[in-house]
């Protein structure tokens, strides 16, 4: 179904991984926003968003990244994106996100960029 959306959270070392599944639109984005906000409020600013199971994103979902990226970076962290499917990547691409966000091919490479102190 093109209606479902869910978020699963896990730790990988000192990095927090948020795995998005399904369809992220204006209806489901508030849940993603709340999840990111919760991490930042709890002092966890090193975030990797695993997009391997994300099937769709509209500007409401993209807006969540835009709202919090500066805050995460100011807190010494980052919001990195990982494993974006090609059909979803094209949407990020249209808006020039690849120049502004750290987008990695896999969750592992995204996590290791934090370990390397690059975040």
């Amino acid at each position: 179904m093109t209606r479902s959306f869910s978020i699963e959270t896990r730790d990988q070392g000192n990095v927090r991984v948020l795995e998005l599944r399904g369809y992220l639109d204006a209806h489901t984005a508030p849940r993603f926003e709340a999840a990111v906000e919760e991490e930042l409020r709890a002092g966890r600013a090193k975030l990797v968003v695993d997009c391997s199971e994300l099937d769709y994103i509209s500007s409401a979902g993209l807006g969540v990244f835009m709202t919090f990226i500066d805050e995460a970076r100011s807190a010494g962290g980052d919001i990195k994106l990982a494993a974006i499917q090609p059909k979803v990547y094209q949407i990020f691409d249209v808006l020039g996100f690849p120049a502004l966000f750290d987008i990695q091919p896999t969750v592992e490479s995204a996590v290791s960029r934090f370990d390397a102190g690059e975040g």
Binding site: Y23, D25, A26, H27, S59, V64, M66, D70
Partner: protein
């Protein structure tokens, strides 16, 4: 190709709950009209953005109104009309800020119209006072090769 024109129409309550249904509607028509997967996703995205704007801005998140999407398919192009009876606006007055600037201002919005304009070949907005507002978006079919014909090329 035989000469034909087909029209489709979907009307739903003005709730973001119905965006998924709107995307399925557009995807089914895009697929049927022979657009590829990538283009079909983009068409669904543009209409999603237009309907999201109607729900959030024209109706200010009141779910008791209606959003209408009319689609016309012919040999040349596919046309979407997103219609509401809420508050109109002047799209030319909306500032188009760079994404960097939006981020600096911690703004989450301002991307919808940009996405619509970059996906569609023609975008027109009109207010019919006391009756309706209409966002009309046109996407041309690409010839099999996938690129635009050169300007001035014979058709």
């Amino acid at each position: 190709m035989a000469s034909y024109e087909r029209t489709f129409c979907l009307q739903v309550p003005s709730s973001t709950e119905n965006l998924a249904l709107i995307r399925e509607f557009v995807s089914a028509i895009g697929e049927q009209a022979g657009f590829g997967e990538t283009e079909t996703v983009q068409l669904a995205l543009a209409v999603d953005e237009a309907c999201t704007n109607v729900i959030e801005h024209a109706y200010q998140n009141e779910a008791t109104h209606e959003v209408t999407v009319r689609v016309t398919v012919d040999e040349e192009e596919i046309t979407f009309e997103v219609i509401d009876k809420g508050r109109g606006f002047d799209p030319t007055a909306e500032p188009v800020l760079p994404v960097e600037e939006l981020i600096r201002q911690r703004r989450s919005g301002g991307l919808g119209l940009r996405l619509i304009r970059s996906i569609m070949d023609d975008v027109q907005y009109r207010i019919v006072p006391g009756q309706m507002n209409e966002l009309r978006m046109v996407k041309k079919r690409r010839p099999a090769g996938g690129v635009n014909p050169a300007p001035g090329a014979p058709r």
